[in-house]
């Protein structure tokens, strides 16, 4: 086999392989748009985050605008402090309400942001003041049962 033919084929092979890695990184792994340097961070404190996990999406009006970057417990207030990384092209007002929602009954847990009418926007490192905790199904059911029991007791 001719030397230059071998070189040509090796060149084609390596170019294809590197192209595949590039494709996997950019198109499949979406390296360009999810890099963390592009987002700004805001915090939100919740009484209960339910099944929220790191890397869960942050949505506003159903549009994904960022990701959950970190979750920690504030040991003085005993609230869960969630750090959200928001895409720079979106700004949210100071009276935005952050709530923990579930898409469908079994779907993924995400953070929903509802903007209000405040003229000022939350800046880098700011905090969402109004939050709504996750609905914990077990609590809801037990509350319902207790209410029913109390009603039944009062009726007699």
């Amino acid at each position: 086999m001719n030397r230059s033919t071998i070189d040509l084929w090796v060149g084609i092979f390596v170019a294809l392989g590197l192209g595949a890695i590039l494709f996997l990184s950019l198109k499949v792994g979406n390296l360009l748009t999810t890099s963390h340097s592009e987002g700004y961070r805001i915090e939100a404190a919740f009484d209960n985050i339910g099944g929220l996990k790191v890397r869960a999406p942050v949505k506003a009006a159903g549009v994904a605008v960022g990701r959950v970057e970190a979750i920690r417990l504030d040991s003085t207030t005993f609230e869960a402090v969630v750090t959200l990384s928001i895409d720079r092209q979106y700004a949210f007002t100071k009276d935005t309400i952050a709530s923990i929602l579930t898409s469908g009954l079994l779907g993924e847990v995400y953070v929903g942001l509802d903007s209000g009418g405040d003229p000022q926007a939350i800046s880098e490192g700011g905090r969402v003041m109004k939050t709504q905790s996750a609905v914990v199904l077990e609590k809801l059911i037990s509350q319902f049962l207790f209410d029913k029991a109390a009603q039944g007791g009062g009726g007699k």
């Binding site: 086999m1 030397r3 071998i6 070189d7 084929w9 090796v10 084609i12 092979f13 390596v14 294809l16 392989g17 590197l18 595949a20 890695i21 494709f23 996997l24 990184s25 198109k27 499949v28 792994g29 979406n30 390296l31 748009t33 999810t34 996990k53 890397r55 999406p57 994904a64 469908g104 079994l106």
Partner: protein, 267 residues
């Protein structure tokens, strides 16, 4: 009578164990020798390029075709299961994650072991059987640097590229079946895939896996060839041992790597 049979059996077990341990020792010494001769071997880059051609470029067809079909089958099967839960939009992310994390490196590694590993073993074994290796030594050419190291590095370099091509063609096959055949929305297909696949966690870990598998297959292949009994029978059994040994090692190493890479995901 029974006493001598037992003694015979014990002797055989002992001899077998000793042979296995000696072979392991030789394999370790051989590994270090190959790594030690790597710089010398890589300096003759032409030889390594030639091996990349034989191990990598000539494996392209089987890798590309298998990747395409694996991706298409994954999409068909995945769609059937996902749509029962009303989650058929997640087809893209399911296929991409299965390919990047597991199927790409593992299946490409298994194919590479049988396509290229066996060829490397047979070639080195036959060179040994026809005294070419001894002839080289007599001409003061070290066969480890001239023959073994280029084949080893040719395999190590080719394997991650082949695995990446396998995954890429798999994703493309899933796109063909999912979007073109079944009629899923292409936006949801790619969007969910991009949202669910992490570069560091999935793409890089997959490449690390395929690199490790490349090391395993190449090392087993050159070792079995170098260690082959210099007969036609010896070469054929060495080739078999390469395919069996490297396939099993890939699967075992895959388990270990997966435990280390993905145990903390999502927690």
């Amino acid at each position: 009578m029974p006493a001598s049979t037992i003694a015979d059996g014990l002797r055989r077990v002992g001899a077998g164990t000793r042979r296995a341990v000696t072979r392991l020792g030789f394999a370790s010494r051989f590994t270090f020798a190959v790594l030690g001769h790597s710089v010398e071997g890589l300096r003759r880059i032409r030889l390594t390029l030639r091996e990349i051609y034989f191990a990598g470029a000539l494996s392209l067809v089987i890798i590309l075709v298998s990747g395409l079909f694996v991706g298409m089958v994954l999409a068909l099967q995945g769609y059937d299961i996902l749509q029962r839960y009303g989650a058929s939009e997640s087809l893209g992310v399911m296929v991409a994650l299965s390919l990047l994390r597991e199927l790409g490196p593992v299946v490409a590694g298994l194919l590479f072991a049988s396509r290229a590993g066996s060829a490397i073993t047979a070639e080195i074994g036959l060179m040994k059987a026809t005294d070419q290796l001894s002839a080289m030594e007599m001409m003061a050419v070290d066969p480890l640097a001239r023959v073994v190291a280029p084949r080893f590095w040719g395999g190590v370099i080719s394997m991650p590229l082949l695995a990446a091509l396998f995954s890429t063609l798999g994703v493309f096959g899933a796109y063909l079946v999912g979007v073109k055949l079944i009629g899923l929305d292409p936006g949801a297909f790619w969007g969910n895939m991009q949202a669910g696949v992490d570069f560091r966690e999935d793409v890089v870990n997959g490449i690390i896996k395929s690199f490790v598998f490349g090391l395993i297959v190449s090392l087993v292949a050159v070792f079995e060839g170098y260690d082959a009994a210099p007969t036609a029978e010896g070469v054929s059994s060495a080739t078999t041992r390469t395919v069996v040994g490297s396939s099993l090692s890939i699967l075992a190493a895959d388990f270990v790597l997966t435990v280390f890479m993905f145990r903390g995901v999502g927690v």
